[in-house]
Symmetry: C2
């Protein structure tokens, strides 16, 4: 039994990610005590029923008092208000982090409200499913996934290293980069794919009703994979697009240019252009399998599509 | 031991789908004998090494002689040439089918070359992975998947029923509809999703090299699911887009209109429009899970992402 990395962890917000942090930190003995707060009385009660923490508060200020590590796990649009609420109650020397999918706007929203005596080190675990809420917590969610930290250049190296150790203890691989760079990389790897998935599922849902029921029935032929992505939390993703506007619009511009080329090739019956692109994209897939970010095993899109409702693990 | 449904099955083309049919038909004792042909000597030799059939021919005409069921398993762009080659050698009363992802153009290409004494009943099993070639054959590929048949109105009901029984014996659920309707439904459930996936992966691969390596590294955050779709066989998909041009362009037009609305909402900071769409798409996902076309179990996109190279089943 080793000593916990942090005596007291405070989680502000206890949805899918917050609950997963609580479960993973508890199992690994990574923290001594877990304080949980959320504005929703129903969610707070549910977190307590699930036994995710040790103490529970409606007010974030109460939860963060005396905490050595505070992780804000709310939609990014709410992070500024949370920082304002907890700022005056933070312990000197505490590490304050978050899990938001965008970083520049979160830094802009939170930093002004945090006292200089705390270490503000923004973070983003690249993990999550399409489920939300405290019941969606998964103890293994961060296992072998990336967690990106975006410390300012002036950040205390010892504090950064300690937060890195925390995420490693939860099973994650950790990488540090600037907030700006994070937002650009995530715009193409995550935000644009989500936007496209939302869009195509929306297009399908607007179809005449005769076709719509068949879209559901025959969804396994490709569409289904998009619906899983497009089932992600609406509040979280609204905030992502509003807060990473420039990078998303930049990537969307490139996507549209490419789609125009592809559309023209189809219209003109230009098979060579299509074949060349489709060969190039196949190579990208091989690179991803080669670096261990996915497996080449066929799973037909899902682990076991014959069982309609597997138990969560 | 029941009698086989067909005495002799001829498979023209022995890629991912053809090989899977051979394996499934053999296991179920669905046919008495399997004849295989393909123009590629290397592929033919590999099919024989794998023991997929009983007899092997370089010339499709030799394979189809005396066959009771002929299934053409080639990219749809090649189906006309195959029909021309086998037409004069087909047995009277034989059923001729295919597995192409588009149906109107396949009917147009094949029908003129087939004698009136055979039953031409086009088909499309909605199954497949991103892998190709005879080694990618999977005995369970059609289990609980849909197979759509598009018989002409004049088709012999007994022949249609017999082909349905064949696919059911391979584990599939069978549905009949017109070729035109099939092409429209597949344009939105399969062809457009593939086109979009190819496009976004292409956009990412054109990025400056500094970002591109990170796109691979952090691909698990959404992008990865697209790369799997975009790794599908280039020849097959080139032919799909060239042969279902009208329906794909129609759906692409709707997709683009919707994407323009979404882009404007992001640019204007219009969170309500985003939130409304994201809520609507989540409901679609629930419908798909409710009708058993997918499971709600979290699998992080893949069965087990911690094992980089699982064995095929």
């Amino acid at each position: 039994m080793t000593d916990p990395l942090f005596g007291k962890l405070a989680l502000v917000g206890i949805g899918h990610i917050g609950a997963s942090i609580a479960l993973a930190a508890r199992r690994g003995g990574v923290v001594g005590e877990i304080a949980i707060s959320t504005r929703s009385p129903a969610t707070l009660a549910r977190a307590e029923e699930l036994g995710l923490g040790d103490v529970y508060f409606a007010d974030a200020a109460d939860a963060v008092r005396g905490a050595d590590l505070v992780i804000v796990c709310v939609p990014v649009g709410a992070s500024g208000d949370v920082a304002k609420a907890i700022g005056p109650h933070l312990k000197a020397g505490a590490i304050v982090s978050d899990v938001g999918s965008v970083k520049v706007s979160v830094v802009k929203a939170m930093a002004p409200h945090l006292p200089s005596a705390v270490h503000f080190i923004p973070g983003h675990p690249l993990a999550g499913t399409e489920h939300s809420g405290p019941d969606a917590g998964l103890v293994d969610l961060f296992q072998n996934r990336w967690c990106v930290l975006t410390p300012a250049e002036t950040a205390d190296p010892a504090a950064v290293e300690k937060l890195m150790a925390f995420w490693r203890a939860l099973g994650a691989n950790v990488e540090a980069m600037s907030a700006e760079h994070h937002d650009l990389v995530l715009a193409i790897t995550s935000h644009l794919p989500h936007l496209i998935a939302y869009n195509i599922v929306g297009t399908a849902s607007d179809l005449e009703s005769g076709i719509r029921s068949e879209v559901l029935k025959f969804s396994a032929s490709g569409f289904r994979d998009f619906t899983r992505i497009a089932a992600s939390d609406p509040t979280m993703w609204r905030d992502v697009f509003l807060n990473n506007k420039e990078a998303v619009l930049e990537m969307l511009g490139r996507f549209n240019e490419d789609l125009a080329t592809l559309t023209r090739a189809i219209r003109n019956g230009d098979g060579d252009t299509l074949f060349d692109l489709f060969t190039r994209t196949r190579a990208i897939r091989r690179s991803i399998v080669a670096i261990g970010q996915d497996t080449s095993a066929p799973d037909f899109g899902r682990r076991d599509h014959t069982k309609p409702d597997q138990a969560k693990t």
